[in-house]
């Protein structure tokens, strides 16, 4: 139908306006909650109680105290650090080790290649499940160990297969040429294969990055020390479990200070904001990754 519109001049009918309106409503339903929380996080107690406009298109009163409160909370600080640690270290380690294994699997003459692939693929269909995995982690003595957050999501068979299919499209002649020039296998991997695969490594890396950033359950499950929980678990405690522990030392209920809700909103905003900032740049990788997966199926 787009083609039709190209031939004639763009002419909007009544139906076009209805469709546009419906889509606009949907887009607003997505933007508004985020905007509302942003405005709430900037509002003061006095502003909210004197305002008769519940929609909060602009902040009621203005203060940045909620953000100061959030960033000065020791739990949010430690949570943020751990989230950044697991995201940065976890994503790099994951991509590095998955790329190594995927590269080896892309060698079509490697003895035992099929066996290895099967060995990895079984995990796509059979998993231990919540409790057996928990007990095994416990028996391995990894409970409450920060490195578990890096180790546990280190490999993912699906991503490995995507990387393997990409590596196998790299012409063999390039490797041969490097080999003749006296490059070792490690050099070939580091200086020929990796530079050629940057786009697909970034694509998979983006996936892993968001998985790490949005993970909270592994932290909640395997960690008992509160100071070792990722930031999402702390936000969960602040907003969903409404634990007062996180609010200690924060004054609320005064006219020029934020309300409890504003502090919660500020907590949500500081975890959403990084996603909002990164999303426009990496969106296309997700779309590409999705189509890549669809082709594989």
């Amino acid at each position: 139908m787009q083609r039709k519109s190209k031939k004639k001049k763009k002419k909007y009918t009544f139906a076009d306006y209805v469709i546009g309106f419906l889509l606009l409503c949907f887009a607003i339903s997505i933007i508004y909650p985020v905007w509302y929380l942003f405005m709430l996080s900037l509002s003061t107690y006095g502003g909210i109680s004197s305002s008769d406009n519940p929609f909060m298109l602009t902040p009621a009163g203005f203060t940045l105290t909620a953000y100061k409160n959030i960033f000065s909370s020791p739990y949010i600080q430690s949570g943020y650090l751990i989230t950044i640690f697991r995201t940065v270290v976890g994503t790099s380690a994951s991509i590095f080790f998955m790329a190594l294994a995927a590269y080896a699997l892309s060698k079509s003459n490697l003895p035992g290649r099929k066996g290895f692939t099967m060995f990895f693929m079984v995990n796509m269909f059979i998993q231990g499940g919540l409790i057996p995995t928990y007990l095994m982690i416990k028996e391995l003595g990894l409970l409450d160990n920060i490195w578990l957050l890096v180790l546990l999501p280190l490999f993912n068979t699906y991503y490995m297969i995507i990387l393997r299919s990409f590596f196998s499209t790299i012409p063999k002649s390039l490797e041969e040429a490097a080999r003749i020039d006296g490059a070792s296998e490690v050099q070939i991997f580091g200086k020929v294969i990796v530079p050629l695969s940057i786009p697909s490594l970034i694509a998979v890396g983006t996936w892993v990055f968001f998985t790490h950033w949005n993970s909270w359950f592994d932290s909640q499950l395997y960690f008992t020390t509160m100071k070792k929980q990722v930031v999402l678990v702390q936000i969960r405690r602040l907003v969903i479990e409404q634990s007062n522990l996180l609010l200690t030392g924060m004054t609320t209920g005064k006219a020029n200070l934020p309300t409890e809700n504003s502090i919660q909103a500020a907590g949500i905003m500081v975890t959403v904001l990084p996603v909002l900032i990164i999303y426009p740049f990496v969106k296309r990788f997700f779309v590409e990754g999705m189509t890549l997966g669809a082709v594989k199926e």
Binding site: M1, Q2, R3, K4, K10, A15, D16, I19, G20, L23, L24, F26, A27, I30, P33, L37, P54, F55, L100, A101, A104, L105, K107, L110, P111, F119, F120, N123, I126, Q127, G128, G129, L130, I131, P132, T133, Y134, M136, E139, L140, F155, M160, N214, S215, W216, F217, L232, I235, R236, V239, I240, N261, A265, G267, I268, V272, V287, M290, T291, A294
Partner: protein, 317 residues
């Protein structure tokens, strides 16, 4: 290779082993590259799979997974007389069915609406925003809902009060809870689900539409005679995947939204297993429930797939 080993002379044998040895040596770096993966899969994939054995054991903390006594199918017999299991089973299927009816079509409808938009900028913007929520963790989505739906301070209830109504405790009333589970799932996934349909729509040959235009077909007849029939394969695939997942609820969503007031409608198998195992430390029984759920789920996938294949569509497994 298929020769009788007795007939094979020593030289041949030796050279064969040498050949294999040479090959293994040639690929020694590749095996080193694979080593971390193999170790990881043994520790974090195969050990937990072995751990499923506790479903057939009576786990005690001192003996651990390896040493606990075998009890056969005792844990599984318990499942059938467990009222909480029955409730969780029913809720899981009910919520999944509701999502199948409302959430899956929402992605399709969004894709169809987007495909009708002529203004490319508007189309791109709406699509970008619609996918954004998929990258929010459920902790964040549930937090946003908790703030906005709060009976005293939430914007939704303030509007209801402004219009002269009574505030509703949305997440603590069973009916409303279910409504918000479905709505929030649409909010989170419609844009992402639309992606696969958008790809399918862009694959439909434009000649079909041109021919239809010449024949004087309007928007609706093009929709029902070209777009939808061309999408039937994709729709079928998506439905199979959803049907196969009937027993695996969205743990992240329910766990972050539910509370003791709505347990009767909200508790799904995944949350039940979590509470049984982690809160009540009934490790063996909860593993049995989990295994039962997974086996039925797997059977479901294969059955649905078979039916679809028999009906002449392409399966997914």
């Amino acid at each position: 290779m298929k020769k009788d080993p007795n007939q094979m002379n020593l030289v041949q044998k030796k050279s064969k082993f040498q050949l294999i040895g040479k090959q293994l040596y040639h690929y020694r770096w590749m095996y080193l590259f694979l080593l971390p993966a193999v170790i990881w899969y043994i520790l974090f994939a195969y050990l937990p799979i072995y751990g499923i054995s506790i479903a057939f054991k009576d786990y005690n903390i001192v003996e651990g997974v390896w040493g606990s006594a075998w009890v056969g199918l005792d844990n599984f017999r318990k499942i059938f007389s467990d009222a909480n299991f029955a409730r969780a089973f029913k809720n899981t299927i009910f919520i999944s069915a509701l999502k199948l009816i409302f959430v899956t079509p929402s992605g399709l409808i969004l894709a169809l609406l987007l495909s009708e938009v002529k203004n490319k900028l508007f189309k791109g913007a709406v699509q970008s925003f619609s996918m954004l929520t998929h990258f929010f963790s459920w902790v964040i989505i549930a937090s946003i809902m908790t703030v906005m739906l709060s009976p005293n301070t939430g914007v939704v209830n303030q509007i209801i009060v402004m219009l002269g109504g009574e505030p509703i405790y949305f997440l603590a009333e069973e009916k409303w809870f279910i409504v918000w589970v479905v709505l929030s799932d649409i909010w989170e996934s419609a844009g992402w689900n639309a992606l696969i349909f958008i790809a399918a729509i862009s694959g439909i040959s434009p000649e079909l539409y041109e021919a239809a235009s010449i024949d004087g077909a309007g928007r609706w007849s093009k929709l029902f005679r070209i777009t939808i029939p061309c999408l039937s394969g994709t729709i079928c695939t998506v439905l199979i995947l959803k049907l196969g997942g009937l027993l695996s609820g969205n743990f992240n969503q329910i766990f972050n939204l539910y509370n003791s007031a709505v347990m009767d409608v909200a508790d799904i198998l995944d949350t039940y297993v979590y509470r049984l195992g982690i809160n009540s430390m009934q490790y063996s029984y909860s593993s049995a429930v989990n295994l039962f759920q997974n086996v039925i789920g797997l059977l479901l996938v294969f059955t649905v797939n078979k039916i679809v294949k028999r009906a002449g569509q392409e399966g997914v497994v």
